[in-house]
């Protein structure tokens, strides 16, 4: 059983018409995602089932996403872990607002991993999104939806580097992860980049810090 929270912050001021959760002229916490799931490992296969509550913190008046957009999704996923291929299929079903599904097909393959401390792992990942019901409903266009139409939403390719910068024997470890990701946008909603602006292809860099304490993290090599 696993649970967690993901907090999304916006640090830059946006202009009217730009994509934002906090709203025009505002920064800070934009979204809180609370998630919980059950995971079952069966040999090289992992099954997951869980739910996520999306709670938006922005100002509707300023063009951001406010509590009226809050919703809940259920998800099930199956992954296979092998040396080179780590495919995952995940189905998300919105039960709060749009009552539709979204299918994610992804895969990861390691490029190389440094076997000594500090361990460095490099991997390539690819993802395709398929909207199976989270598009606008023609009889009710006022309902909020995430995508403009059914079908492929985007295809993404990323390269990630991760290193365990601090191994704390008996406690856990600290990992720094970062990478580059490119995305081919196929749905109008994914292309949207502000009024009058569309991006068919986007490239961005990202980074993060993970702290894993207890359990198997204590003795990892």
């Amino acid at each position: 059983m696993e649970a967690g929270a993901v907090l999304h912050f916006e640090w830059d001021h946006v202009s009217p018409g730009e994509l934002s959760e906090t709203g025009v002229g505002k920064t800070g916490l934009g979204e809180v995602d609370l998630w919980g799931q059950l995971a079952l490992d069966a040999g090289p296969v992992r099954l997951q089932a869980g739910a996520t509550r999306y709670a938006f913190q922005g100002s509707t008046a300023a063009g951001g996403l406010g509590p009226d957009r809050n919703t809940t999704e259920l998800h099930v996923a199956v992954s296979a872990f092998r040396a080179y291929s780590n495919p995952t299929a995940a189905l998300w079903w919105d039960v709060g607002k749009v009552h539709g599904g979204y299918l994610s097909l992804s895969g990861k393959t390691p490029v190389l991993a440094w076997p000594l401390q500090p361990f460095v792992f490099a991997y390539v990942d690819a993802e395709v999104g398929l909207n199976v019901g989270q598009a606008a409903d023609p009889p009710h266009p006022e309902d909020h939806a995430n995508f403009s139409q059914r079908g492929l939403t985007h295809a993404a390719l990323g390269l990630t580097l991760s290193t365990r910068v601090k191994q704390m024997p008996g406690l856990g470890f600290l990992a720094v992860t970062g990478g580059a990701r490119s995305q081919l946008n196929l749905d109008e909603a994914t292309r949207f980049d502000g009024i009058g602006r569309r991006d068919d292809i986007r490239l961005w860099f990202w980074g993060g810090i993970s702290v894993a304490l207890g359990g198997a993290a204590r003795t990892l090599r």
Binding site: L19, E21, G30, Q48, A77, P115, Y123, G215, R221
Partner: protein, 714 residues
């Protein structure tokens, strides 16, 4: 729930491992001119306990070398000093350590110069090459960082080892006494094999088995150099010359234990050492002497570069595999990866199979050593001269050291490990499809430059970016010695010489010795590897083209063996005694890396820690006892004194029947942070009885008795 991934920045971090070179000159003083001529050949022996505490990395298996979590056999440094009639001395140390170290050699030489009159040119420190010994004391940063899964250089390790070896040598100098000696040799078949036969058969002329090779042996067993050469030394005890010790050279990797082992141990060499020592002890005094043997067997390695002990396939452990971490894996966090270890059951099985092999090989080779020893008849040798020649080679100066590449490089075949212990990188391919050459026997398809057919990681990934910082971490100098004892000349090299390379070197030395026209006649030339430093393997140019593990680890290119062969021949031709060395023969640079303390000097409160022992239990045929003793990062013996008493003893009635230097007694650390340290003893008694466990201290702690044993006889 924005799925078009707006520019949400969580945090950004870039980690670049930057570190400048820490190369520094290491001082060295030559032996002074002898002033104390006794007119006799004299010999002395000394021993030091060099067993480090748990927590250190077990060096030799790279990333598969575990952190030490206990001990089986104690590790010792055994020292012998010989002094000829004119007062020229030679200090020989064989230590139960994985690799040689120029840093350690220079440090010991500095410590003993005044007390023993032995300088760098007359001191040989050889490693038995046990892969169950400590890391962290090398002059090359690469070996401190990557010799085991525990990275780092430790000045306390260097100082502690040096002080202990100093003690052994000073002990030997203190008991110098008239001696008689005898050289002998015999073949030992069936316990060693060539592990890289496809590389060996590239040599011209093709390798031939000796005529006395047993016909039934497989080819890789027939092509080894089976020669066990032994110097028996008897010592005057006031009433006569009595057996006292031996110095043996035999080619065999110290890789009997599986890579999954977590115990410090002397491996096969530890058993062979003890087997002959017990035998010599019995010749001195037939009454049982239960603890540390009184006599010494210095069991050094020869040209073992491509020679494995006859381990069985089931004694090799699987390596970890790459897999995403099962926790935090999902849509909410970036994937974290792990090297997933084999199951504990698998590790236990391969470690157990490794021990069976160690016992069998140790008994067989030990028996051969006893037979050879018994066949030797020491004679007075007061007329011999302990001549020597010594040089420190600057390997990156191709003017002074021609014939090799001026930049070291490691081939792909080295990254994957030898057959004795592959690393987790074996067979890795890009996306599981495109081979990267991470295998043995994968030379560069487009040979170019000095390293020619060596396929390096830099060829595949980041090219020159990787070469410079990596090269800095490898040794840049090599200490080479040739010395003569009686009718044998012995060349020492800071690396692992293959069988064929060693044969060529010996031929060159013998020819040089016979053509010099002075000094004592020479009947044989011998090679000691793993001495006075470490720069990996030394293969012939033909073997190098195969790029097996040994060729991939020949750092300075295909000309290395020929260069060392010329050097050894030149030194053999210039053997001398009683003369000073030129200063350029001494310059040595080292780059051990930044200190990274694992160990600490013994602190007062730990010295006074009171031991305790819980009531033992017996499960199946094994006795288990938990006890508290010492501190985890502290040396069990603060001085290195080998002592005459066990630290942990098992008693039946009032008789000690086993102790903490017995291959059937394992001491497992239970908790790395507990103080005093918590241990568990495992022992399988062969005789059913009532046993108690005693832990030494002030006062000793002794357990209650438990009935155990009798189910298994080893």
């Amino acid at each position: 729930m924005i799925r078009n991934h707006g520019a949400v920045l969580l945090a950004a971090g870039v980690l670049l491992g930057c570190g400048g070179s820490t190369r520094r000159a290491v001082p060295g003083q030559p032996s002074p001119k002898p002033t104390n001529a006794s007119g006799r050949l004299r010999a002395g022996f000394g021993r030091a306990d060099i067993t480090p505490p748990p927590g250190v990395g077990l060096a030799g298996n790279g990333p598969e070398g575990a952190m030490a979590m206990g001990q089986r056999l104690r590790l010792y440094a055994r020292a012998m000093i010989l002094e000829d009639a004119k007062g020229n001395r030679l200090g020989l140390v064989v230590a139960d350590i994985p690799l040689g170290s120029a840093l350690l050699h220079r440090r010991v030489a500095q410590l003993i110069l005044d007390s023993t009159h032995i300088g760098v040119d007359r001191l040989i420190i050889a490693a038995t090459h046990t892969h169950s010994g400590p890391s962290h004391y090398f002059e090359g940063k690469v070996y401190n960082e990557e010799g085991s899964s525990v990275p780092g250089y430790d000045t306390v390790m260097v100082d502690s080892l040096a002080r202990r070896i100093q003690g052994a040598l000073e002990g030997a100098a203190a008991n110098l006494a008239p001696a008689t000696i005898a050289w002998g040799s015999r073949a030992v078949w069936g316990y060693t094999r060539i592990r890289s036969l496809p590389a060996m058969i590239r040599n011209l002329p093709p390798p031939m088995a000796r005529p006395d090779a047993p016909a039934g042996l497989a080819r890789e067993y027939q092509l080894v150099d089976p020669e066990m050469s032994m110097l028996r030394v008897d010592q005057w005890d006031g009433s006569g010359f009595k057996p006292r010790g031996a110095f043996t050279i035999f080619a065999m990797h110290g890789t009997g234990n599986a890579s999954g082992t977590v115990l410090l141990d002397g491996d096969i060499h530890g058993l062979v050492e003890r087997r002959l020592e017990r035998h010599i002890d019995s010749l001195i005094d037939p009454r049982p002497w239960p603890f540390v043997p009184r006599s010494l067997h210095l069991f050094a390695n020869g040209t073992e570069g491509d020679v494995s002990p006859a381990w069985t396939p089931q004694s090799r452990c699987d390596t970890p595999t790459l897999a995403p971490l099962p926790f935090l894996e999902g849509a909410f966090a970036p994937t974290l990866w792990q090297w997933k270890p084999p199951s504990e059951r698998h590790i236990a099985a391969c470690v157990h199979a490794g021990r069976q092999g160690v016992d069998w090989i140790g008994e067989g080779v030990g028996r051969a050593a006893v037979e050879l020893y018994d066949g030797l008849d020491p004679k007075a040798a007061d007329d011999i001269e302990l001549s020597r020649a010594f040089v420190t080679l600057p390997l990156r100066d191709t003017v002074r050291v021609p014939g090799i590449c001026n930049t070291p490089a490691v081939g792909m075949g080295a990254l994957v490990g030898a057959d004795d212990a592959h690393t987790r990188m074996l067979g890795w391919s890009l996306f599981g499809v495109f081979a990267m050459g991470l295998d043995q026997g994968t030379p560069n398809p487009d040979p170019k430059g000095c390293q020619a057919g060596k396929h390096t990681l830099g060829d595949v990934l980041v090219g020159p970016l990787l070469v410079k910082p990596t090269a800095d971490g490898f040794p840049s100098h090599a200490q080479v010695t040739v010395f003569q004892i009686g009718n044998r000349v012995i060349g020492t090299l800071p690396g692992e010489v293959t069988t064929t390379a060693g044969r060529r070197m010996r031929d060159g030395m013998l020819a040089a010795a016979r053509s010099r026209g002075r000094g004592m006649p020479v009947d044989a030339a011998l090679i000691m590897g793993l001495t006075n430093g470490y720069l990996e393997y030394i293969t012939t140019a033909e073997e190098y083209t195969a790029q097996y593990y040994e060729g991939g680890s020949t750092l300075y290119g295909p000309g290395e063996a020929a260069m060392f062969g010329r050097t050894l021949a030149g030194l053999t031709a210039s053997l001398s005694a009683g003369d000073p060395l030129p200063p350029e023969a001494l310059l040595l640079m080292a780059d051990p890396g930044a200190p990274h303390g694992f160990l600490h000097p013994r602190r007062p409160k730990e010295r006074d820690a009171q031991p305790s022992v819980d009531p033992p239990t017996c499960r199946g045929d094994t006795l288990f006892a938990r006890f508290r003793y010492g501190a985890v990062q502290d040396w069990a013996d603060s001085t290195g004194s080998a002592g005459s008493l066990p630290r942990i003893a098992i008693l039946r009635d009032k008789t000690v029947v086993a102790w903490d230097d017995n291959p059937l007694v394992e001491l497992h650390l239970l908790h790395r942070r507990a103080y005093p340290a918590r241990w568990e003893l495992w022992w399988t008694p062969s005789v059913k009885g009532s046993y108690r466990v005693r832990v030494t201290g002030r006062p000793d702690a002794e357990s209650s008795a438990v009935e155990c044993g009798g189910m298994t006889v080893h």
